[in-house]
């Protein structure tokens, strides 16, 4: 099992490195959209400082959404997915490796970039620290729920838009608690509960999502 896990992990990392342009596109999207908002809402510093956590969280969430189709698309086209599904090991083994690799190559860079973007909004010092933390805690759940959605819509027409429709309502709780953690930290209110809920949600998703994801992938491949 561990051998398969590591093999898939290595393969995904290699593939991600070879197509690192995809990751850069997602990061660029993150930057551009975060820059859009002041054009829309004006440059009043107090306003920007207030809305920064929400905007940066929403934008990161959308960037994650953008990269989800990539999870299974290539492997489905070239038959690798079918091979993996035929493997004797339980699906969560190689799925876990795929999702971990995806999260590390997609969401973690977003979390690292977020404080830099927060500069554009001149946020309070405490936000620079907590924003990436909440993103790191919450993006696993986004990736996992998103993976189920990507598996369900694999190969369909207009799959990207359909994926967004399916998955964005399910993202709302993560968004709520992620932003609330940051704004509570900023306002000096307790925020441990929000962080715990984010972490708990990601853990629960890690346990449950692979089931739905594997089932949906089998449907797509048959």
């Amino acid at each position: 099992m561990i051998a398969l896990f590591l093999a898939v992990l290595r393969r995904e990392a290699l593939l991600a490195w070879r197509s690192r342009a995809d990751t850069l596109v997602a990061l660029t999207f993150f930057v551009i959209v975060a820059t859009l908002f002041p054009f829309g809402v004006g440059t009043d510093e107090r306003l920007l400082r207030t809305i920064a956590p929400g905007i940066l969280w929403v934008t990161a969430l959308l960037a994650v959404l953008l990269t989800l189709p990539r999870l299974f698309e290539h492997d489905w086209r070239d038959g690798t997915l079918e091979q993996l599904l035929l493997s004797a090991e339980p699906a969560p083994v190689w799925l876990g490796a795929k999702l971990l690799a995806h999260w590390v190559t997609t969401a973690v860079p977003l979390a690292v970039l977020a404080p830099l973007l927060a500069l554009l909004y001149d946020v309070e010092p405490v936000v620079y620290g907590w924003l990436p933390v909440t993103l790191l805690l919450g993006t696993p759940m986004l990736t996992l729920i998103g993976a189920v959605g990507a598996a369900l819509t694999l190969g369909l027409r207009a799959s990207g838009l359909l994926l967004a429709l399916l998955v964005l309502p399910l993202f709302v709780p993560v968004l709520i608690f992620g932003v609330d953690a940051v704004t509570s930290a900023r306002d000096g209110a307790p925020f441990a509960a929000q962080l715990a809920l984010l972490a708990g949600g990601s853990l629960a998703a890690t346990a449950l999502a692979p089931w739905g994801c594997a089932a949906a992938l089998r449907l797509a491949v048959e």
């Binding site: 729920i145 359909l162 429709l165 399916l166 399910l170 709780p173 949600g201 449950l208 739905g212 089932a215």
Partner: protein, 270 residues
């Protein structure tokens, strides 16, 4: 794994037995059953609705604070409840379909979705029309209405997904997975939106909290809810009936039944 297989084998035996309730898992039996049930639930809905509407307008008194406009509640609350119950029913039939491998279960789930979406829309619409005269705004981001809006998206997502998959087997199971995932998330969504709402509204009034109910009001609301429930069952079974007929178009019984329906219609025309 073998215990599930044994149970499934037992279920399949029951489905073939002519005396068991399980036989209605077969499309042909199910088609016959819906033909019998739809009129009953339909007329029950009409009767309950007539009684409920009479109670809503001629028995229930005016509200102390809101006057007459509170009567919207007799549609709004049943609609909201139905939208949630129906989504759970969809997930239930999805689970049944995945476990027992019965087409009819999946068809029931598909048949429920448009009706659930309709109630969801009605809840949002009537909520807006209730909110404007009472609290001054068509939409305020309160917990219940926001959750209702997200539920609407879940319905639309289910319908869109099932529609866009051509292979019926994949569509059935994908829809079931989505409904299951969605219904697990509904309480999570509701809880998180409640949390979010208390942050941003502070101590302001919960916009959809019913005025403390007189018994008459409560009973009227229950009658209207049962009317909506009966209607939903009738409509879902009617839709499922047509869906089963279309899916089984290649079978003998379906073609005969369809021919009979067409002949009956021709006869009624004259």
């Amino acid at each position: 794994m073998s215990r599930i297989d044994a149970w499934r084998a037992a279920a399949e035996t029951k489905m073939r037995s002519p005396k068991s309730w399980w036989r209605f898992a077969a499309p042909k039996e199910f088609f016959w059953l819906t033909g019998k049930l739809v009129p009953w639930f339909g007329w029950a809905a009409v009767l309950l609705a007539v009684v409920g509407l009479y109670a809503a307008f001629f028995v229930a008194p005016s509200d102390f604070r809101q006057g007459e406009v509170y009567r919207v509640i007799y549609i709004h609350v049943p609609a909201a409840w139905m939208s949630m119950i129906i989504y759970l029913a969809m997930a239930f039939w999805g689970i049944v379909g995945l476990t027992l491998n019965t087409r009819v279960s999946f068809i029931l789930a598909h048949a429920l979705a448009p009706t659930g979406a309709l109630w969801c829309f009605v809840a949002l619409w009537t909520g807006a029309l209730w909110g404007k005269p009472t609290w001054g705004t068509y939409w305020a981001w309160d917990a219940r209405m926001t959750s209702q809006l997200l539920l609407m998206f879940l319905y639309l997502g289910y319908i869109a997904l099932v529609r866009s998959i051509e292979d019926p087997r994949r569509a059935d199971r994908a829809g079931a997975i989505l409904a299951i995932v969605g219904s697990i998330n509904v309480p999570i969504i509701y809880f998180s939106v409640q949390w979010w709402n208390t942050l941003h509204q502070g101590a302001s009034v919960s916009l959809t909290k019913a005025p403390s109910m007189a018994t008459v009001m409560l009973v009227t609301m229950l009658i209207m809810t049962f009317a909506a429930w009966s209607y939903s069952i009738a409509v879902a079974l009617a839709r499922a009936r047509s869906m089963v007929l279309l899916r089984e178009a290649h079978t003998d019984w379906a073609q005969k039944a369809a021919a009979a329906m067409v002949a009956k219609r021709e006869a009624e025309k004259e």
